[in-house]
Amino acid sequence: MSTFTERISAALDTTDAREAGHRVHQVVAQEMRNLDPTATAEITGYFNHSYVPDLVMQWGKGRQAFDRPIFLRHSLRSSRASGDLDNFNRNDLPAFYLSLASAEPEEETRQVRAQANEHRGSRVLVTTVPALDDLTPTTQRPDPVLGLVRASIVRNAKGAIVESDVENLVLPRDRQIEQRELAAFSETVSSVFTEDAVLRINRVFGIVEQALADEPSVEALLLSGQLSETEIRELVPYLLSLQGVTRDRDFWTAVARLINLTDIEQMWSQFADLDLTPLASAASGLWRAKRVLMSLRSDAIGVEDFDRTPRWSAKGNLLAAEIGDWRLTFANKAQKMKIANRDLTPARWGDLLPSLEAYTVTAVDLRGLQTRSQYGAQESTQDMKQRVEAFIRTADDSFHLPSVTVATGVGDERSEITANFTEMMLDAKPDSDLETLARAALRILGYRHPTAEADLTALLAGTGLPQDEHEAKEAHGENVSDDHTENGDDPE
């Protein structure tokens, strides 16, 4: 593949000035999008104009919208003559000046560097095409630190990036980093990126370091805030597919705190084909969803040697957990999950009741042969089980339950979860954590086909099944699924 410098030289290789502009705009726009795929590039049609940028890079919409103008110049000398360096005096301009020249006189780079060093608070960037060449990955192996550095150049680089400055930003791929290289990296990152980008790059650097440590130190990580889209894209798939990555629960919980379920849903394609178990299991007490669809894994039923190891993955654009013969699909907004079923079999009260023991039942929908009744508690703390039981006993009818609502949690964590048997769907109001929802789905919606507590424990712990014990029980003909009600934890 040709370098950025070579592509610019080829684009300029014409005698038609307008054509040169058109071609260069396409090459620069492509390079900027390669560096930061979250950005869009508007080409203005002006080439090397004093006042109108050649491209306007854009991110976000509405209040989150951010623009950065890119001015193309034929050389650093030309940029200086245009007065671009004077803009280092200003802290309100995010202008990005890019010299197209394939080489620059040393005196020019010295002047640019001197101006940038005098005005470290400025957001103006002066750089050159050859300087950015060194950011091109030389292998297919992902490197989240380099990925984030590359992506941050377009939006967050400032000061002067000239000559071989970028070499300091590219750490050895084998991660055998010498102190000297680390010092140069830190110093260069601090001088050429805005404060928030420096924090993000250092955070990803720290996470990657700890991911490969024998005993990861969560304290060493910068764990405030949320990961940006770029950080998630660069870091999380890398960690999930990294050979020898730590299984340390505290580490993965710390990473999960920086992400939420919406991020996974929006960036689902980044996670396709990846085993999300280390991350999602650690997140099961953190990430919150509003809706869960429960479905039987038809490919697993009746297949003895089917791998039933509980695991998390991205199915379509949603997070899913596979456990036993079930698949649970989670959505953080109700509208993201369409109702697939409407006419499945309602529950029978008597059969369901043992599964409700651990819950406060706040509402039931009773459908009889002659009547239909809805029982709801005035207070969400009031358990309706005995009243429902009494009503069914005395009523001259035979009832099914299309749905039942239970309350879980306390205080801010309190949530009412409606299990709809005809749709095999849970709806939580407000949302609830994945662990609570998974437990409610398996116990209540899946009451006819119970799941072993060991399976649920393994799903939430992100560990494999305790194979020996599991297989031993199966060998003795013991129904490993039956023990879940005895060992079940109180979800409240």
Partner: protein, 195 residues
């Protein structure tokens, strides 16, 4: 060409004129001769290549086709050699128009501007843009046409595309600031104005 380059305005001087012209909102210059001499060079039928100072185009109103523009800049404090230089400039303007029309098959409607900080040929000032004067200049440099006949209709057309702008430093200094011009052009772009 070497002599021509030696007399050129420096980078800063050329950029000052570039900014001043672009602040009118009527022009967009892609190259100075310092950026690329070949890009600023106008060829003539006899093979002569004349490097001018700025290469760009007009900023078109919505629906207008931007037209190419060449500019020669003179930051003189005296008349200097402008009289003869301007005569050659006119001859090149006509010869280049002939050459480009012949080579690309259509007239690109290129404009030629002479921008100076000091007036010249003041006794003939009112004639500098006339067809008659243009013809005289072309006849003085007839070799540029490589034997082609002078076309009176084309002379009249090219004369319309010549401009002489005399500027003072104060005039340049009161141009819109970068922020102001950027803002104005931002809105013009939104209205469909294009370079």
């Amino acid at each position: 060409m070497a002599k021509e380059t030696a007399q050129r305005l420096g980078y800063e001087g050329l950029h000052e004129i570039k900014e001043w012209l672009e602040a009118t909102m009527r022009f967009a210059f892609t190259y100075t001769v310092w950026d690329s001499e070949p890009m600023c060079t106008r060829p003539c039928p006899d093979g002569t290549k004349k490097a001018l100072d700025l290469e760009g185009n007009t900023v078109g109103r919505p629906g207008d086709r931007p037209r190419p523009v060449s500019v020669e800049c003179k930051k003189y404090t005296t008349v200097g050699g402008q009289a003869e230089g301007y005569r050659e400039f006119l001859a090149v303007a006509y010869a280049n128009t002939v050459h480009m029309t012949d080579s690309i098959g259509e007239d690109a409607e290129r404009e030629f501007l002479w921008v100076t900080y000091h007036p010249f040929s003041q006794t003939k000032w009112s004639e500098l843009l006339t067809v008659k004067h243009l013809r005289e200049c072309v006849e003085d440099h007839l070799g540029l046409l490589d034997g082609a006949e002078i076309d009176d209709d084309l002379l009249a057309i090219v004369a319309q595309r010549i401009g002489v702008l005399v500027v003072g430093q104060r005039q340049v200094d009161i141009r819109l600031s970068k922020d102001e011009a950027g803002l104005a052009l931002h809105h013009l772009r939104k209205e469909g104005y294009r370079a």
